[in-house]
Assembly symmetry: C2
């Protein structure tokens, strides 16, 4: 499974003939689709899909599947909500959950769901604000104008007949275009159904990113408005028998991010620094969590959700590193860059405007490397991996930022960002002290390892404490686990923060000036240079290759197309469907290959030949989790939850031969709801039978 399942875009300057691309809706390649599949995708189809597709703000996608706000998404996309509902007495992750009537639906405190209603091109305004400025000033001016435009958009929408919108500035093609994306946002999201983790994530980490596969990685949420189920006339209908082999299918969704347009220097930085460091860090943390989970049943329950996230991330990053270590991929990237640079160099005007951009990025990376560790540990938060510290930092920063004009604030504290931040900060969520101590002690330990025991920062934070001792003191004495205390500090603002003696608030206050200084350095010496240079490369690309391409993913709405098709793995054909019978054959009874009792009880009644999971050639990536897979009539024919192992390299390029999307088949969803869970009321709401 993956958070922000990653899909990607075309590298080669030729026309896309592969089923490749995460297309924005205003640039969907309908002609190419018609040519290849004989299927016509018109504006109505696109509009239906747009309004039925939801973004789940935690990092996933979903789709409306009833007129009453019912949202279909993945089990792993609601895991935060489920684990917040769970207690040692009532382990909802293990047992699953089904609301038999609306009153039983449980609010997911921290979740928000958004639907993209409209987009507006603001490239001209952004360029006007930054034109002629040196990088550092341009970077600041860009942030200001984006904040101003977002604010104006939200204010004007509040008075418009269409209703209030949440407005977000979006940067496409790495600075080539800027847009305002205008969302209808639902803050009241409730859990309707999840199956047991054992069947939702059958095969666990060993099977993650693999296929054949047997995961019922599904969940239903419901969007509420004014305390009532939201009215959602634009929703998808079901085609329970699913698609046929070779049939064309489409995946709308919010791919989180891709790196297909990075320069060679940036890829090298990922390969040599970023990915290895990330992996070392989280592989060790994984080991610590696993071992902690063995100390008691309760510890085992508590580490399950973070462990799933880290293990998923480790598999992704390890395979990304593997992709970048592929000398052929790297040589191809180098060649493409050289071609583009040669074309720029051949035109005197372009040479002058764009020619130096690549070297400027490389130099900015070198300069960043000299303070990267300090920056990441102090400001990037990896020195303080703790929910309690995150609360403290937000509260401390907000107290300062809210004193400033909106367009002078750090971007995460602007008026547009505050409602979401407030909801997340004040939401009740269980805080597990042992887990907090473990993660915080680990982070402090790594800070000392990487910055060295003689670092001024390390001495400032640790003093003569050991990481364990400091983590113990902070976590056991802070009161921030209490949502009431957080609410008081949120409301109390600067004065409340300044007099607080909460040790976590004190720590956040104590390091804030240094952390902000490092952030400023990062923004001025790295981000500003890279953004300005990247924008120039984007312009060079437009000038030379035209605009008939797709931008790197940005967790904004895209549609990708393809067909139901297996692939050849080490000479063996992989059939594109699995069936229920093999789930039972594969079960060992031991985690992660344990089939829940509810299924074992109904084994005889289940259709052994019902399709379970399927694969298609669509181009997805993390963030597409929960995406509907739809057919040419925009009917639901699958629920995307993963890619195969080859899809991970999709962060850097799309390989049409090997890269596959993995989805839950609608047949198994309906079969499970009917036979295993007896959820006839949901089937009725879906309009099935």
């Amino acid at each position: 499974m993956r958070f922000r399942l990653a899909l990607v875009l075309l590298l080669l300057p030729s026309v896309a003939t592969a089923d490749e691309g995460m297309w924005t809706l205003d640039n969907f390649p309908s002609a190419a689709v018609e040519q290849k599949y004989g299927v016509e995708i018109d504006d109505d189809w696109l509009r239906t899909v747009q309004l039925a597709t939801t973004r789940i703000e935690g990092g996933c996608t979903g789709s409306f599947v009833s007129p009453e706000g019912l949202v279909l998404t993945n089990h792993h996309c609601v895991q935060r909500c489920v684990s917040q509902m769970s207690t040692s007495e009532n382990d909802v992750e293990a047992s699953g959950f089904l609301a038999r009537e609306p009153e039983e639906e449980v609010r997911c405190q921290a979740e928000q769901i958004s639907v993209l209603m409209e987009t507006e091109d603001i490239t001209a305004q952004v360029e006007a604000a930054t034109a002629g400025k040196p990088e550092k000033e341009a970077n600041e001016a860009r942030k200001q104008v984006l904040t101003q435009l977002e604010q104006a958009c939200e204010e004007s929408s509040a008075e418009s007949p269409g209703g209030k919108r949440s407005c977000e500035a979006v940067n496409l093609y790495h600075g080539g275009q800027f847009f305002l994306y205008k969302y209808k946002r639902y803050d009241d999201v409730r859990l309707v159904f999840v199956p047991e983790a054992d069947v939702a994530a059958f095969g666990g980490d060993p099977d993650n990113f693999n296929f054949p596969r047997w995961c019922l990685d599904m969940a239903f949420l419901r969007a509420y408005e004014d305390g009532k189920p939201a009215r959602t006339p634009h929703h998808l209908s079901w085609r329970g028998e699913g698609p046929e082999p070779g049939e064309s299918v489409f995946v709308p969704g919010h791919p989180g991010g891709t790196s297909r347009l990075l320069t060679v220097a940036q890829l090298r930085f990922l390969r040599d620094v970023n990915l290895p460091h990330w992996l070392m860090r989280y592989v060790e943390l994984r080991g610590r969590l696993i071992q902690h989970g063995k100390t008691s049943e309760e510890a085992n329950r508590i580490v399950r959700a973070p462990l799933m996230r880290y293990e998923n991330g480790i598999k992704v990053q390890r395979n990304r590193l593997q992709a970048l270590l592929d000398d052929q991929l790297f040589a191809a990237k180098r060649e493409q860059e050289e071609e583009l640079r040669a074309a720029v160099a051949a035109d005197p005007r372009m040479a002058k405007e764009y020619g130096s951009a690549w070297n400027e990025i490389a130099a900015a990376i070198d300069s960043y490397l000299s303070f990267r560790d300090d920056y990441l540990f102090l400001e990037g938060g990896i020195g303080f991996n703790s929910f309690l510290f995150d609360y403290a930092r937000d509260l401390v920063r907000l107290a300062d930022e809210s004193q400033k004009a909106n367009d002078q604030r750090l971007r995460e504290y602007t008026e547009a960002a505050l409602p979401g931040l407030k909801q997340r900060t004040l939401a009740a969520r269980p805080i597990y002290p042992d887990l907090e101590k473990l993660k915080l002690s680990f982070s402090l330990d790594k800070m000392r390892e990487f910055l060295g025991p003689d670092s001024a920062y390390v001495k400032e934070v640790l003093g003569s404490d050991s990481p364990d001792a400091l983590a113990e003191r902070l976590v056991s004495r802070t009161k921030l686990a209490d949502p009431e205390v957080r609410a008081q500090l949120w409301e109390g603002g600067r004065e409340a923060i300044e007099v607080s003696e909460d040790p976590m608030i004190e720590l956040a206050r104590q390091i804030d000036a240094e952390a902000r200084r490092l952030r400023k350095r990062f923004e001025d010496e790295y981000e500003a240079i890279v953004d300005a240079a990247t924008e120039r490369i984007a312009k060079a690309r437009f000038a030379i290759q035209g605009t008939g391409r797709y931008p790197d993913a940005t967790f904004t709405l895209r549609v990708t197309y393809g067909a139901v098709e297996g692939w050849k793995e080490k000479g063996q054909e992989v059939y594109p469907f699995t069936h229920i019978d093999r789930l039972f054959e594969r079960a060992t009874g031991a985690e992660p290959f344990r089939v829940p009792e509810s299924w074992m009880d109904k084994k005889a009644e289940l259709d052994p030949k019902a399709r379970f999971n399927l694969v298609a050639t669509t181009d997805i990536i993390g963030g597409n989790s929960g995406s509907p897979m739809v057919d040419q009539e925009a009917r639901l024919v699958g629920l995307v939850f993963d890619g195969n192992i080859h899809s991970i390299a999709g962060n850097y390029w799309f390989d049409p031969v090997m890269n596959r999307t993995v989805a839950v088949h609608p047949a198994v969803i309906l079969e499970a709801l009917r036979v295993v869970y007896g959820a006839d009321h949901l089937l009725a709401e879906l309009g099935v039978k």
Copy 2:
């Protein structure tokens, strides 16, 4: 600290002007030393140093420092012995140990010490045995002739007046030369002194491979013969005031291995596969051990020694990966290879004989990759990281191998190898069930992760068990923790093994055929090809560049030379000495920056200006741990225990500007023995004062 501290050899075809090279004694560059330092190194000096330097079979070096068999080495080189002596009631690692009289000296059950007495060139015999054979047969013939020559050497020595020798075949220059190395071996080794771990490894993992440094990483062992202290007329005398800045110094020792002569394909394999996999594995295991160590004081004590080893290894491998990710280093390696290949290609005879060698190595690596995971988990042992399993495998294999003629056996079960194996197998050592379960469960978990749950090997081993359940069952039911049981199985031979119902023996038996098949495949499809091709490259190198170079390290005796000298770190001069006063200033009271009570008590009496650690430009690597640093008169002026962080890249090349050896200064050793430990009897034995 480092096990097998790694030092390396010259890459460039020019004459060594840097203080570089791990020289065999028969090829020591005395002329270069005289030219650079005005110091004459003659045969007497070399002979003294040879006979005073000991190899510690666990992977270190030591030196005789008295006529009574007293051996000086590192604390971290006797850690296995110390942790075997420790119990929860008597934590010798924490408290240190000092025998006040011979009767108090404690035997290190598993340790052996060797002194190189003589070497014999057997290149001609090996070449005669393999000439004209295809790779696979040549590989088998080579192993046979080496076993035969070792056996003949040992048998003839037993009747010679010089006494019994242990004979080991040694391959230098990757097949360019073969030698028999003839050792006098001491099986009875006893612990005389170690300081507390807190001062021996002050700074722990954070300070490991760093300098300035304050570690009293020392220990005394004593070699015994016939139950009495060995007579060792060839020993080093002390020069307590140590060397001056800029003075030339020498380090004899047993560097464990270097990779300075690998081909680009081999380096790429290390960079892309070997090192990342190793790191992922041990970083996670590190996390598990750390977390387990927090469950109780006893668990903390038990994980300390393995944790120190893994953390040291992680630092080494991480920095090696960093070195290989340096595009300049890689480009230099590629260029050197291209030059050598061009020179070969330019000569028709050489082109025919050697020209294809590089591509053959690359092809062998590709072929290896297709079964590498299976091989490493099943045969390489990483699927069964457990002392109990190691015993089981050796006992099972020995039962088969001992039925065969000596030269038909796997090399680790030949007559020459058996005495060491027997001593290690039957030695009493504490086995900690929780630690065994942790490591075994971890290994099985990784086996399932890497081979996949559908692997036939995984199904064969795990069945429907979880890794935890299988590890629990195996470790709690096997009797192999009892040395008596191991002795019975050793003596009982094949019959005893065949009827054994010990579950660990059963597991080893169950997978043995498959494991051997994978080993054969490894030997035939990879090792044989690579060895044959590497031998041809070595010959090409000799033909083109001559023999005035040093071979890659092979855990055999070498001498390196250099001078006491700091370096420049980020523009700052690093002074080559530290002093006692800063140890106390740096102490925080919390591990790993805690100074033991014995030192705190005597703080006032210690000379604050006594030198503590020092650095020199000598070229060392893992295995040199415990090496004496000597002056031009072969007097002891330091005890090598580490290198600086830049020394780690020394596995691939020697950088004279940054690479430094780190040693304990003799002054702090004598000061500590006198003031802190009151060990006047040892000072007298050392002939000091």
